[in-house]
C-alpha cells in the first residue's frame, strides 16, 4: 500500500513544487529525492518495517513478487530521472507537471503490481495510461508529438473499451470481479451460456492487454507513438510502463490461462511469433534509430511474452530479470540517443571518436538488448527460453525465437557500426561529466547482472 499512497501524494507535491521552486533543476532534484522516498517506502513495505494497511476488502493483494517488481520499476524511474533529468527539463515548459505525471504513472504501476480484482486492474491501467497521453504530447509545438498523443489517446480509449467489455462479460458470467475467474465461476456447474460469456470476456481482456504491451497484432500504435513522443518520454514509456503492463498481464492470466486449456498455448504461440516477426523484421528496415527502438521494443515484448507461455517459477524469475535488463539497457540507450541531435543511423557516424564514453556505454546497452553473453540481456533471454523448455516439449518455438534474436543483432549492431566503423562528425547536445559517470555506472550494472544474475534474484528471495 505504501507505494500507491506515496506515489499519489508525491505526485501532488511535485505538481505544487513548480509554483514554489523557480529553477528547473531544483524541481528535478525534488523529483529525485521524492523517488528515493518512494523507493524506501516500498522497501519498508517489503520487509514490513513500516507499512500502511487499509482494508480494501480483498481488492488489493500485496505479495513479495509484486512489491519487488515495484522496487524494480521505481529504481528504473530513478535511474531514468538521474540520467535524463536534464532532458526532461528541456522537453517543454512545465517541468513540474511532467514529474507529477511520472509519479501518477508510478501510482498506476503500483496498483498493477498488487491488483486482486478486475475493477482494480481497470483503474490501474487507466491511472497508468492517462498521464502518458499527456506526456506524449508534451512537445506542444511539435505536430508529430500532437499527432502521437492523439493517436495514443484514441487507440488507448479503444482498447480500454475492449477491456471494459471483457470485464463486463466476465462479471455477467460469474457475478464477481474476482481475479480468479475459474474459482468464482458457476460455469463449473454446467451452464453453457455463462461459460461462453466467460471465455469471450477473457479473450477480450487478452486482446486489450496485448494492446497495452504492444504485442502483435495489436502493436500498430507503438511505432508512431514512440517516434512522435519526446525522446525522454519514449524511454519512460518503453520501459517502466511496458514492464508494469507485463506484470499485470502475467498476474491476470496466471490463474485464468488454464480456463482456455490447450488453446492458451496455441494463442500465445501465435502472438509471440507474430510479435517477434513484426518487431524484428520491421526494425531491420528503419532509417531512424528512434523508430527502430520502437520496433525493437515490440520484439523485446515478444520475448517477455514467453513468461505467459510457460507460467512457471523460472518464468517469474525471468520476467523480473527481463524487466531489470531491459529497463537498464533501454533507459541507458535512450539517454544517449536523445543527446545526439540526428536520430538517423548516419547521425551516429563516428560517435566513438567524438564521444568515446557514450559510444562505449551505448554498445554495452545494445549488446544487452541483443542478448549477448556477459550482459544482463543474455540471462533475461536465457530465463525466458529456459522456462519454455522447462515447461515441456515445444522446442520449436525456442528455435524460432532464437532465429529472431539473431536477426535483432542486425539492427542493434548497425548502430555500433555507425559509431565505431564509420566516419562522421555527430552533433550532440552538451554532455556533462556527471552524465557520463551515470552512464558508465549503468553500463557497469548491465555487465554485473550479466555475469552474476543471482544478484537480482537473490535479493528477490531474501
Amino acid at each position: 500500500m505504501n507505494a500507491i499512497i506515496f506515489s499519489a501524494v508525491l505526485g501532488v507535491v511535485m505538481m505544487f513544487s513548480g509554483i514554489i521552486l523557480r529553477s528547473k533543476s531544483a524541481v528535478t532534484t525534488t523529483a529525485i529525492v521524492s523517488l528515493l522516498v518512494l523507493l524506501l517506502a516500498n522497501i519498508f513495505n517489503i520487509y514490513d518495517v513500516f507499512s500502511i494497511h487499509i482494508d480494501t476488502r480483498g481488492l488489493l493483494h500485496f505479495n513479495k513478487f509484486g512489491l519487488f517488481f515495484n522496487s524494480i520499476l521505481i529504481s528504473a524511474t530513478l535511474i531514468f530521472v538521474l540520467l535524463s533529468g536534464k532532458d526532461i527539463e528541456k522537453a517543454g515548459a512545465n517541468v513540474s507537471d511532467y514529474y507529477a505525471l511520472i509519479f501518477f504513472v508510478l501510482c498506476g504501476t503500483s496498483i498493477l503490481t498488487s491488483f486482486n480484482g478486475l475493477l482494480i486492474l481497470f483503474l490501474g491501467i487507466e491511472i497508468m495510461t492517462i498521464p502518458l497521453y499527456i506526456l506524449t504530447g508534451a512537445d506542444k509545438r511539435n505536430l508529430k508529438s500532437n499527432e502521437a498523443s492523439l493517436k495514443y489517446f484514441l487507440m488507448g480509449c479503444f482498447s480500454t473499451g475492449i477491456m471494459l467489455m471483457g470485464i463486463a462479460l466476465v462479471y455477467g458470467a460469474t457475478g464477481s470481479f474476482s481475479l480468479n475467474v475459474a474459482a468464482s465461476s458457476p460455469a463449473s456447474a454446467g451452464m453453457p451460456v455463462s461459460s461462453f460469456l466467460q471465455m469471450a470476456g477473457l479473450i477480450l481482456l487478452f486482446v486489450s492487454m496485448c494492446f497495452k504491451v504492444s504485442a502483435a497484432p495489436f502493436h500498430f500504435w507503438t511505432p508512431d507513438v514512440y517516434d512522435g513522443a519526446p525522446g525522454v518520454f519514449t524511454s519512460f514509456m518503453a520501459t517502466i510502463v511496458k514492464a508494469g503492463g507485463f506484470f499485470a498481464f502475467l498476474n491476470l492470466f496466471e490463474s485464468n490461462a488454464q480456463l482456455l486449456g490447450p488453446t492458451w498455448k496455441l494463442l500465445m504461440s501465435f502472438v509471440i511469433i507474430a510479435t517477434l516477426l513484426i518487431g524484428n523484421i520491421t526494425a531491420v528496415f528503419q532509417q531512424s534509430i528512434k523508430r527502430m527502438m520502437a520496433y525493437s521494443s515490440i520484439a523485446q515484448a515478444g520475448f517477455m511474452l514467453f513468461a505467459l507461455y510457460s507460467f512457471n517459477d523460472m518464468a517469474k524469475e525471468g520476467i523480473l530479470l527481463y524487466a531489470v535488463a531491459y529497463c537498464l539497457a533501454t533507459i541507458g540507450f535512450f539517454s544517449v540517443l536523445i543527446k545526439v541531435k540526428d536520430y538517423t543511423f548516419d547521425g551516429f557516424n563516428g560517435l566513438a571518436k567524438t564521444q568515446p564514453v557514450l559510444a562505449f556505454s551505448a554498445t554495452v546497452f545494445l549488446m544487452s538488448l541483443a542478448g549477448i553473453p556477459l550482459t544482463a540481456g543474455f540471462f533475461a533471454k536465457y530465463y525466458m527460453l529456459a522456462s519454455v523448455v522447462k515447461s515441456g516439449g515445444s522446442l520449436w518455438i525456442v528455435v524460432v525465437a532464437v532465429l529472431f534474436a539473431a536477426i535483432s543483432v542486425y539492427y542493434y549492431f548497425k548502430v555500433i557500426q555507425a559509431m565505431y566503423f564509420k566516419e562522421g562528425q555527430p552533433e550532440t547536445l552538451e554532455i556533462t561529466g556527471s552524465f557520463k559517470t551515470g552512464l558508465v555506472l549503468v553500463a557497469a550494472a548491465v555487465i554485473l547482472v550479466g555475469v552474476l544474475p543471482s544478484i537480482v534474484l537473490n535479493w528477490f528471495y531474501f
Binding site: I372, L395, V402, V409, L452
Partner: protein, 475 residues
C-alpha cells in the same frame, strides 16, 4: 590456478593495453603478457595430470566456473599461447591506427579462446565462445579491408546464429540431466531419447559447423579472411576455427554418441565435398590470402571427416593436426602479410622472382608450403597420415575421395610457391626487400616447430592420449 591465469593474464593485459597512451607501451605489454602466457602454457603441458580449477558461479542455475585441462585442452591452450607471441613479433613494425585498442582487443580474444579450450561447464563454454567472437568482430571491422563492415557482419551474424542454436540445444540437454546441471560430467552422463539426441545434436553441430567452417556453411570464411587485418586472420584461421573442431571433441561426440554414429557418414560426406570443392576453388585463386583461406577450408574438412570416422587413429590425427595446422597456417599468413605490406599486392600474377630479392623468405615459404601439403618430415604429415588411416578404416571410398584433395593441395600450394618466388622478376617484385629480423625470427621458430614435430611427433601423441581414450570409453 594455472588454468585461471591463462585466462586472466591476457584479459588483464588487454584491459591495461586499452588504457595505454603510447603505442610502444601497449606493444610491450602485449608481448610481455603473451610470453608469460606461453610460459604458463608450457608449464601446464609439462604437468602430467589434468589441471582443474573450480569455483562457485551460478549456483541457482547449476553452473559452476569450472576449468579443466586434459590433453587436448593443453595442446590447444599451447597453440593459442604459441601463436600470440609469434603474431605480435611478426606484426611489430606494422602500423595500425589506434594501436593500443588493436592490441587490447587481440588479447581479449586470446582470453576468450583460452576459456573456450578449458571450460568444463557448458554455460561457461558458451560465455567464452561469445567472448572470443566479439573482439574479433571489432578487430576486423575497424582495421580490415575495404569491404570489411559488411563481410565481418556476415561472419558475426552467422556465428551468432550458430551460438544461439547451440544455446537452444544446451537448454534441451540441461533439462534432461539428472541434477539440472551444466557441468561437463552431467552432460556426459545424460540419458537422451533418440529424438532428443537427433535434435540437440544438430543444434550443437550447426554452431560448430559454422565456426569450422564445413560445407555448405563456409561462405562467410574466405571473405572474412581476406578482409580482416592479417593479424586477426591469423587468430581466426590459426586458432579460432579450431574452436569448432575442439567443441566437437568436447561436447558433441561424448554427449550424443548414437546421433554421432547415425549422422557421422552424412557429415563426413559433407566434409569431403567441402574439401574437394575448396581445393578446386583454391587452384583458381590469384589472391594469396584467398588461396590460403580455401586451403584452410580443405584442411578443416579433413579434420572434421576424421573426427566423425569413429576410429581412434582418426581422432588422434585430427587433434594433432589442430595444433600443426594452427602453427603452419600462421606461418603462411605471416608471409602473405609481409608480401602485402612490402609490395602492396596479394595477386600472384603480379608477383614473381621474389627468391632473388628475399632469399630467406623464399626458403621459409617453401618450408611452410611443404608443411601445407603434409610432406613427410613436416609436422602435418603424422596428423594427416593418422587421419587418412582413420577414414580408411571407416570407408575406403571416402578415403580415396579425400586423398584427391591432397593431390590438389600440392597443385595449388606449389603453384603459388612457383608463381611468387620463382620465375622472372616482375616489375612489382623488383621493389622487394628481405624480411626484417623480427619476422625472420617468428618464421624460423615456426619452421623449427614444423621440422621438430615432423621428425619427433611423439610428445603430441602422448599429450592427446587421455582425450582420445576418453572418447573411446564404452558407455
Amino acid at each position: 590456478m594455472i588454468a585461471l591465469l591463462l585466462i586472466l593474464i591476457p584479459l588483464a593485459a588487454g584491459l591495461v593495453s586499452f588504457a595505454m597512451k603510447q603505442d610502444s607501451a601497449a606493444k610491450t605489454i602485449s608481448l610481455l603478457a603473451s610470453v608469460v602466457t606461453l610460459a604458463l602454457a608450457l608449464a601446464a603441458v609439462g604437468t602430467s595430470s589434468s589441471i582443474v580449477y573450480d569455483v562457485a558461479w551460478l549456483n541457482d542455475l547449476g553452473s559452476r566456473f569450472t576449468l579443466k585441462m586434459d590433453g587436448l585442452s593443453k595442446l590447444l591452450a599451447l597453440l593459442t599461447a604459441v601463436a600470440y607471441p609469434l603474431i605480435f613479433v611478426a606484426i611489430q613494425h606494422n602500423a595500425y591506427k589506434k594501436t593500443a585498442s588493436f592490441y587490447g582487443l587481440m588479447l581479449l580474444a586470446q582470453a576468450g579462446l583460452m576459456g573456450v579450450f578449458m571450460a568444463a561447464d557448458v554455460l561457461l563454454f558458451y560465455f567464452f565462445w561469445e567472448l572470443a567472437l566479439i573482439p574479433v568482430y571489432f578487430l576486423s571491422s575497424i582495421w580490415g579491408g575495404e569491404k570489411r563492415i559488411a563481410v565481418t557482419f556476415k561472419f558475426f551474424v552467422y556465428t551468432f546464429l550458430g551460438s544461439l542454436l547451440m544455446l537452444a540445444g544446451i537448454l534441451l540437454v540441461y533439462f534432461q540431466t539428472a541434477d539440472h546441471s551444466f557441468a561437463m560430467k552431467a552432460f556426459y552422463e545424460v540419458k537422451l531419447s533418440g529424438a532428443q539426441q537427433t535434435v540437440a545434436f544438430w543444434l550443437f553441430f550447426i554452431a560448430f559447423a559454422i565456426k569450422m567452417p564445413i560445407f555448405p556453411l563456409h561462405t562467410w570464411q574466405p571473405d572474412a579472411y581476406e578482409q580482416s587485418p592479417t593479424a586477426t586472420t591469423m587468430v581466426l584461421s590459426g586458432i579460432m576455427v579450431k574452436m569448432g573442431l575442439f567443441a566437437v571433441v568436447r561436447w558433441l561426440l561424448p554427449v550424443f554418441p548414437q546421433a554421432t554414429v547415425q549422422f557421422g557418414n552424412l557429415i563426413m560426406i559433407l566434409s569431403i565435398i567441402g574439401m574437394l570443392f575448396a581445393s578446386l576453388i583454391a587452384i583458381r585463386q590469384d589472391d594469396i590470402k584467398r588461396l590460403i583461406a580455401y586451403s584452410s577450408i580443405a584442411h578443416i574438412g579433413l579434420m572434421s571427416a576424421a573426427l566423425f570416422s569413429g576410429s581412434r587413429s582418426g581422432a588422434e590425427g585430427a587433434m594433432i593436426q589442430m595444433f600443426s595446422h594452427g602453427v603452419n597456417v600462421i606461418g603462411m599468413w605471416i608471409i602473405a602479410d609481409q608480401i602485402e605490406q612490402k609490395l602492396g599486392t596479394r595477386k600472384m600474377s603480379e608477383l614473381g622472382g621474389l627468391a632473388q630479392k628475399a632469399p630467406a623468405m623464399a626458403v621459409l615459404l617453401v618450408v611452410m608450403a611443404l608443411a601445407n601439403i603434409a610432406l613427410p618430415l613436416t609436422n602435418a604429415f603424422i596428423g594427416e597420415f593418422l587421419m587418412f588411416s582413420g577414414i580408411f578404416q571407416h570407408n575406403m571410398w571416402m578415403a580415396a575421395a579425400a586423398g584427391v584433395s591432397i593431390i590438389l593441395a600440392a597443385v595449388y600450394t606449389l603453384n603459388m610457391v612457383q608463381k611468387v618466388i620463382y620465375g622472372a622478376l616482375s616489375p612489382i617484385s623488383s621493389a622487394a626487400v628481405e624480411i626484417s629480423g623480427n619476422v625472420k625470427m617468428a618464421l624460423i621458430i615456426i619452421a623449427v616447430v614444423i621440422i621438430v614435430f615432423g621428425v619427433f611427433p611423439q610428445p603430441m601423441i602422448e599429450l592427446t592420449k587421455d582425450t582420445v581414450a576418453g572418447l573411446f570409453v564404452k558407455k
